[in-house]
Subunit: 326 residues, 2 copies
Amino acid sequence: MATMKDVAKLAKVGVGSVSRVLNDAPGVKPATKKRVEAAIKKLGYVRDDYARGLKTNRSQTIALILPTVWHPFFSEFAYYIEQSLYRRQYKLLLCNSSEDAEKELQYIKMVTQNKVDGIVGITYSAIDQYVSSNLPFVSIDRYFTEDISYVTSDNFIGGKIAAKELLVRGVKHPAFISGYSKFPNETTKRRDGFKSVIAESGLEMDEIYVPEPIENLEQLVDGLFKRQPSIDGIFCINDLMVLQIEPILKAKGIRVPEDVQIIGYDGFNLTSEQPLGISTIVQPVELMAETAIQILMNKIYDHYRPSEIEVLPVKYRNGNTTRPII
Amino acid sequence: MATMKDVAKLAKVGVGSVSRVLNDAPGVKPATKKRVEAAIKKLGYVRDDYARGLKTNRSQTIALILPTVWHPFFSEFAYYIEQSLYRRQYKLLLCNSSEDAEKELQYIKMVTQNKVDGIVGITYSAIDQYVSSNLPFVSIDRYFTEDISYVTSDNFIGGKIAAKELLVRGVKHPAFISGYSKFPNETTKRRDGFKSVIAESGLEMDEIYVPEPIENLEQLVDGLFKRQPSIDGIFCINDLMVLQIEPILKAKGIRVPEDVQIIGYDGFNLTSEQPLGISTIVQPVELMAETAIQILMNKIYDHYRPSEIEVLPVKYRNGNTTRPII
């Protein structure tokens, strides 16, 4: 019976190209596609889904690397990842990396030892060189290379929506507040999207944009409002930042949302039935988890599967930190 | 070299009794202890910690069964469990049981298959018959039998503290609000402790105490305050209940803490740096996690180890849902 290798040999292409054709993946030259298809026909190659998945020492276990599960967004994400795995009879190993690259590498090593079949990682550590295209690895919110699959919410659009929602609520002097990681990640696009809309509006904009971890947020906010007392709208990089900013403003006698309106990002809920009440850009957490596991399974059961990138839609959810539309 | 079995034979006791003597466990008759110690001396038995742990197919993995990790208390607990395991070079399998006994049994089965070495479980399902004294299992907040180890915070004292803290803050008409599980667990002692102090004080007390899940909390609270408008202090079974009660009272024009003071239980924080601000009874989550893992490891490395019970201290943390002491 013909194998994928036979097809590749006959078509004079790599096995990866055959896989790409079989998976209807983008980036295959029409000429290549034609040759591969001809070879498939000639050899009578039949794709054997079972054989593709045949690896006797599969652990039926996936590792999830998070900065920490002790965080409402990450715990919701971990919840959905586990649900998604359970439906596939897979188990979940949980790793709180605390951004410790050494710890993350232990889990990556477990893949090569067949102790886990793959990894979903929300990671802001220097592990670039260890994450290769061979590794069944799906990154969340961080781009490594084009060979590494990743899933993210549409951070740029999210930033744009936040700006628009503040503007239609009468904000005249917007500000952005965020820390940034030294490792590039998708969340910086929230700022880009926000700034693009504000720039179009012609309004003045200010920001607190400093390296993480932010030690002196209170002084930074104090300084910002002393310099720019007319600020009346804030977009925070995430909901936790909103929770940190609120008491600081309150202590300064600034009322939310009467004096300053605030929009966060994440849309996390304390439990499945307990939202926080913040006006926010909601990430589709359940969909992100399901998509990440689907992509990971594709890779585990088809080693030649090309990387996949999914940018998922976000939406605005009204809460108690903004005023009605004017 | 003499083994524990040799000691048991010579002393004419069971191996369990020898283990209990070696581990200085309670419940050993003085006569038994004397015989065992004599046998140990005569045989020159030396306890071999390494041999006790010798089991070639150890997985170095522990399963944590939680109702759901998507909950601030459970995610904090999961965080500390993983930290505690990591220090011992163990990995954590996470199971959100959603109180699904079938799912929990899968993990219990994994112990017998040597896929995991033991289980820490916060479980309110009907798994009694599957949790035996042979299983390396530590229960949190639920008592199965005296053979099953469990760790809990001091719920009774916690309830007493909540009552006392309300009383010293001028509460004259206290109430208790809680749902209850059909599976007996330690958290009901919060109510017992609270009631014991209120009974001593001679004050009238009311309560909402209904089976979980509570579908119609709003109507229940509404009915309670219509019948008993003088209620001015509430002890909620946990912090989430406080978060649910607050908006209901607000909608009724009842101010917290001016009109009604509220104390919760758990003391959870959204992240390691973000407390909630509720006045509450704080559980020692990190200590509970570390204690549970220590007890579990004792059992894994010493099969004959008797069950251990740890009731850990709680404390009151002042927040914004109570008034100053009068």
